[in-house]
Symmetry: C2
Subunit: 380 residues, 2 copies
């Protein structure tokens, strides 16, 4: 470790404290919380202000002693562009450093059977609109991130079954913007992490397939190659229904959107919530079976990973009312530690927006985690 990395570390430390504070925080309090001296904090804050990452707040604290000048995250300079290519829609969003959503758009557009190149082309227009909207608000977008429903490693999609993609090399930029790529469920979990007060949970993403993001102590667990969280292919019944992955009895065959819809004899999954509310027998039975299967798979997951909470996201979120009871019953029975510490189950806070917001958040979070690199990149 070099000497300059000490400063890099402390820049990150201070910026993290500013980001974690809901209200403007004084340099004196930063010093107290970080263990640094007030002198050091002042020089570091000066550097962050010069780089446009934080700003002084207008109001100052009132009370005994000299009033403090609050420090907040800058609302304008580095923003993040999040994008999502999913089976039947494209989505974009822009968030600022503070995590505020400043622009959002969803374009219904079926990607099944389309080539990756066609998807990039389709994404170009909403991405350009997002950048324009950001510019209109004085935001400078630093870079972008794209969420995809597939297994991604080193800028290659190994497979994205529901898009029909296979071994697709990903572009380094969309337009002029540097972009990164990530798995849909992982990014949704990342988005949810910053929107709810939980710091460890399993985020279950119910889209056409079922994925999951594992968050432990506020960090995403990615596994060796970033492919952790394939909950949809956890075995629920070894001799069960064949799955298109080649296995049998995968969770997806019992709790996937298509499986629930078919078992409820519905032509369109969008009707599920209404039918369930209306008390439709077949729908309720189908949801009960899905909840049971989810309960079995989640129990195994919790036993393996020791997670205190499960967040139901994507299409599962609005169905939580009917899915939670059977899931909870299975967890109570099957989780070894449930007797004295039962896992919490609840719907996602962000719902369908979790994925794009999470993608955009990776951009801003990378800056917050390593401000020195960002500062070096904007003026060498």
């Amino acid at each position: 470790m070099r000497q300059t990395s000490l400063r890099a570390h402390n820049l990150a430390l201070v910026l993290r404290l500013v980001a974690a504070s809901p209200t403007p925080i004084s340099r004196a309090r930063i010093a107290g919380a970080s263990g640094l001296t007030r002198a050091t904090v002042s020089t570091i804050v000066d550097e962050l202000i010069a780089g446009g990452l934080v700003d002084f707040a207008d109001e100052s604290r009132t009370g005994v002693g000299r009033p403090s000048v609050g420090v907040t995250l800058a609302g304008t300079r580095p923003a993040g562009l999040g994008m999502e290519v999913n089976v039947d829609y494209l989505a974009t969003c822009v968030i600022d450093l503070a995590g505020q959503v400043r622009h959002r758009e969803v374009v219904l557009s079926d990607q099944r059977g389309r080539s990756p190149a066609a998807a990039w082309e389709a994404l170009a227009a909403p991405a350009a609109r997002a950048l324009a909207a950001a510019a209109a608000q004085g935001l400078v977008v630093h870079s972008g991130a794209v969420a995809l429903p597939g297994l991604i490693e080193d800028a290659v999609v190994h497979v994205a079954p529901n898009l029909g993609w296979h071994r697709v090399a990903l572009p380094a930029r969309i337009g002029d913007l540097l972009v990164d790529f990530g798995n849909e469920a992982n990014l949704a979990a990342f988005g949810e992490l910053h929107a709810c007060e939980l710091s460890s949970f399993l985020y279950v993403s119910g889209e056409i397939g079922i994925g999951a993001g594992i968050v432990v102590n506020s960090e995403l667990f990615r596994g060796t190659r970033g492919w952790a969280g394939e909950l949809g292919h956890v075995t629920v019944d070894p001799a069960g229904k064949p799955c298109r992955c080649g296995s049998r009895g995968c969770l997806e065959q019992y709790a996937g959107e298509d499986a629930i819809r078919e078992a409820a004899s519905l032509p369109d999954a969008a009707e599920l919530v209404d039918r369930a509310k209306a008390g439709d027998e077949a729908t309720l039975a189908s949801l009960g079976r899905a909840g049971l299967a989810l309960g079995v798979a989640l129990s195994s997951t919790v036993n393996l990973l020791d997670l205190p909470a499960v967040v139901l996201g994507g299409h599962f979120a609005p169905l939580a009312e009917w899915l939670c009871p059977p899931i909870e019953a299975e967890l109570r029975q099957r989780v070894l530690t449930a007797r004295w510490s039962s896992p919490l189950i609840r719907p996602s806070v962000l719902g369908a927006e979790a994925t794009v917001i999470g993608a955009a958040r990776t951009v801003t979070q990378a800056i917050i985690n390593d401000p020195a690199r960002y500062l070096a990149s904007i003026r060498p």
Copy 2:
């Protein structure tokens, strides 16, 4: 981060490089590998030598240029005492900084129904013998670690079903020695990590129960409270055999030692290997069924955690010959990524010794990870 923590970080960085090198490594090469200057590395090595953590090697490299003086881990000063309290035996071992096993002892002693206090008393004698053996070799034992087959958190055993323990507070010392406590499977995985060349794997511990340790990028994944890895209670068949944990169809009911032995109609599990070698039909069938169940549970685990390898430890290690084929068949079918990257399955290198060695290793590894703290503790 303070200024002194820069030195602390670099002490660890240099010591880690020394520990990672199989042969003595020169200060010049440490400088090259660490990015520090030769000057800095020299002062840091001086400090480590003064603290007794490393030593200069006797021989020096021959070749063009000034011969280098190698640096190695010191073989004497801080050693670790590992202990294991298991269902039917107690074990102790002493390892030095370099990871060499310098003493080992196993005492057959049934702990079922004995109180925790009785277990500590039984452990005192072998622990004292280990300390004496260490002293006779000039080793200074720094502290100890005890492996237990149960769920442990903050020096409390929540439950250790096979020992019959429940909510047991653990002592901070055994004799005069500071001790720490850990889960048997986790510590075995930790031991195996340093004995094999894999850096990411699932260690499956087949004792009376079935546990697992999850290792990702050379780090143990502990979950939120340290209870990750309860593989034995992953559901293999939702409507299957009832388990004493209160659930149904747990892996332990199909692949636990008792389950395999009973299905093979054997009075003693020790005969399993001989019977299998002799080609006994019932034994082979029982092992086949166990392998299948293991395959199902491991497939789900690999899908969730993205692990490239599975190590069969404990009683599974000598049975690997018969367990591997059905496990591999299931993994090929059920692991989503198996088509292009099939997980490796293999028996443990350390076998039954993995757990105690892993426990002892936590002591020495803690010193290697934070030498500054150790140095401060031995002379304030």
